[in-house]
C-alpha cells in the first residue's frame, strides 16, 4: 500500500547552495506530518518543490501514485494539492468571498456562480469568518487573513494540504483557536503537511514529524521522540555540523 504523498531523493540547488538535499519521506492518507528544522534548513523550499512553485533538480514526488515532480503548479493544484504561504498572501483587492471563490473556480470540478458563492460562504463559516464575505480581504487582521488563506486552500477540496508556518505570529488565544481549527480538519480526514516552529502545536497536532537540517533529513518519527533526538536538539541549538 503506497502512501498518498511519497517524496524520494528530492534535491534543489540555488547556485552553490543545496537548499534541499536528497530529501525522502512519505505522508499517509489522513495523517498530519510536521516538517521541522531550524531557519534556512529548506522547509519552505521543500514545500515549493512539492507544490510546483519550484522545479527540483533531482528526485521524485508521487501524489497518489502519480509523478508530479516538475509539473506546473496549476496542474498540481488541480490534482488536489493546496498550500498556504509563509508570508500570508490574500488577494487584497477582492472581498473575502471572492478570495475563497478563487479556490473554487479553477479546480476540478469547477464551482462557479451561485454554487460557488454558497460554498464560499460555508467555507468562511468553517474557518471562523462567517458573515464577512463582503469585506475587503486587506481589511482583515493578520490572523483573519491566515484564516482566509486557509479557506481558499480548503476550497480546492485538496487531498493534501501544505501549511507553511500557518500558526506563526498568533497570540496565545489565537494560537489555541488555530490549533483547534487544524484539529477539526484532521477530524474530517484532511491530510496535512505542516511546517511549524510552535512546539505546542507540533506536539498536539502531528502524528509524525520529519526534521530537516541544511536541506537534509536528520530525524523522523513521533513528535516526542523526534524532539528528544540529540541530532535534532543540536541542530536547533545552532551546530551547522550537527
Amino acid at each position: 500500500m503506497t502512501r498518498l504523498l511519497e517524496i524520494s531523493g528530492l534535491t534543489r540547488r540555488f547556485g552553490g547552495l543545496v537548499a534541499v538535499d536528497g530529501l525522502s519521506f512519505g505522508v499517509a492518507q489522513g495523517e498530519i506530518v510536521g516538517l521541522l528544522g531550524p531557519n534556512g534548513s529548506g522547509k519552505t523550499t521543500a514545500l515549493n518543490l512539492v507544490s510546483g512553485a519550484l522545479k527540483p533538480d533531482a528526485g521524485t514526488i508521487m501524489l497518489d501514485g502519480r509523478p508530479i515532480a516538475g509539473l506546473r503548479p496549476d496542474r498540481i493544484a488541480r490534482l488536489g494539492l493546496a498550500r498556504t504561504f509563509q508570508l500570508v498572501r490574500v488577494l487584497g483587492s477582492m472581498t473575502c468571498a471572492e478570495n475563497v471563490v478563487a479556490g473554487l473556480a479553477f479546480r476540478r470540478p469547477v464551482l462557479w456562480g451561485e454554487a460557488a458563492a454558497r460554498r464560499a460562504g460555508a467555507l468562511l463559516d468553517r474557518v471562523g469568518l462567517g458573515g464577512r464575505g463582503a469585506m475587503p480581504a486587506d481589511a482583515l487582521t493578520y490572523i483573519d487573513q491566515k484564516r482566509l488563506e486557509l479557506a481558499r486552500g480548503l476550497a480546492l477540496s485538496p487531498r493534501i494540504l501544505l501549511l507553511d508556518e500557518w500558526l506563526a505570529g498568533l497570540n496565545p488565544s489565537e494560537l489555541q483557536e488555530g490549533i483547534a481549527l487544524i484539529r477539526s480538519l484532521r477530524a474530517e480526514g484532511t491530510t496535512i503537511v505542516m511546517v511549524e516552529h510552535v512546539m505546542d502545536a507540533i506536539r498536539s497536532l502531528c502524528d509524525r514529524c520529519v526534521v530537516m537540517n541544511a536541506g537534509a533529513l536528520i530525524a523522523e518519527g513521533p513528535p516526542a521522540a523526534v524532539l528528544a533526538d540529540p541530532a535534532v536538539i543540536s541542530a536547533y541549538l545552532g551546530g551547522d555540523d550537527a
Binding site: D74, R89, L91, G92, S93, A102, G103, A105, F106, R108
Partner: protein, 300 residues
Amino acid sequence: MTFLPLIPATLLVAALATLPLYADGYCLSLSLSLLNYTVLATAWAMFSGPTRYVSLATVAFFGIGAYSVAVLGEVLPWPLVLLIAAAVGGAVALLVGLSTLRLSGVYFVVFTFGLAELIRQLVTWYEVNVTRALGRYVFVDVTQAQIYWQMLALATLVFLTGWLVGRSRLGFALRIIGDDETVAPHVGIDITIVKVALFALSAVFMTLAGAIMAPRWTYIDPAIAFNPMVSFQVLIMALLGGAGRLYGPLLGVIPLTLLFEFLIARFPNHFSIILGLVFLVIVYLVPNGVAGLTARRAAR
C-alpha cells in the same frame, strides 16, 4: 438583474447611431476619433487593467489592421478583409504573448514598444525594397458615416466583450493574476493561457480599429499607421480614466481626445512636449484614474 445595465447602454448606442444623420463633417470626424480611442483604450485596459502589464504595442496591432486594409481592401469583400485583419492581429498577439508574457514589469513595456517599432521597420523595409513605394493609397468605397457606424458597432462589441469577460472565470482569473501572480497558479490557474488569451483578444479589437479607420486616410505609410504616439496616447487615456473598470478608459478618452485635438490644431509643433507634460501631470495627480477617484468617494 445583472442584465439591467444593458438597457441604458442600448439606448445610448441607438442615440449615437443617429449622429451621422444630422452632424456636420467636423463633428462626425471628431466623434470618429472619440470612438477610435474608446475602442483602443478599452481594449488596452481589458488586458492591462487587471494584469498591470503596461503594453505599448497598441499601435502595432492598429497598424496591422490598417495595412491589412491597404493591401487587401481593393481585392476582397470588406467582411473578409476585416476577418483576415483580425486573424493576423490575433495571431501576432498569440506569438508575441507566448514569447513575452513571461517577462515582467519594465521588460514587457520595453518589448512591446520595440515590437511596434520592429513591425514598422519591417513594413518600411518591405515597401522600399519590394514594392518600391513607401506609401499606399487606400481604395475602399466607404463613406465617413459608414466608417462611423462600423466604429460604433466595434465600440459596442468591445464593451459587451469586456462586460462578459468581467463576469467570466477568465476575467476572474485575470484579476487574481493581477492581485498576486504567485497565488494564481496554486489555485489551479494556467496563467500563461489566461494572459495570452486576453492579450490576443484585446489585440483583435485594436487591429479591427485600425482596419476600420484606414479608409479614412486614403493614403497611409508606415509612419502614419505605426505612429508610436498612438500607443502613448491610449496608455495615458486609460490611465487618466482608470484601467481598473470597464468604463474607466472612456472617462479619459473624452477629455483627452478633445484636448489633443485642440493642441494639435493650436500647437502643432509643440504637441509632443505638451503630451509629455500632460502625461506627467496625470500620473502624478490621479494615479488610480478618475474611475478610481469616484469609487473611493462613493466608498466613503
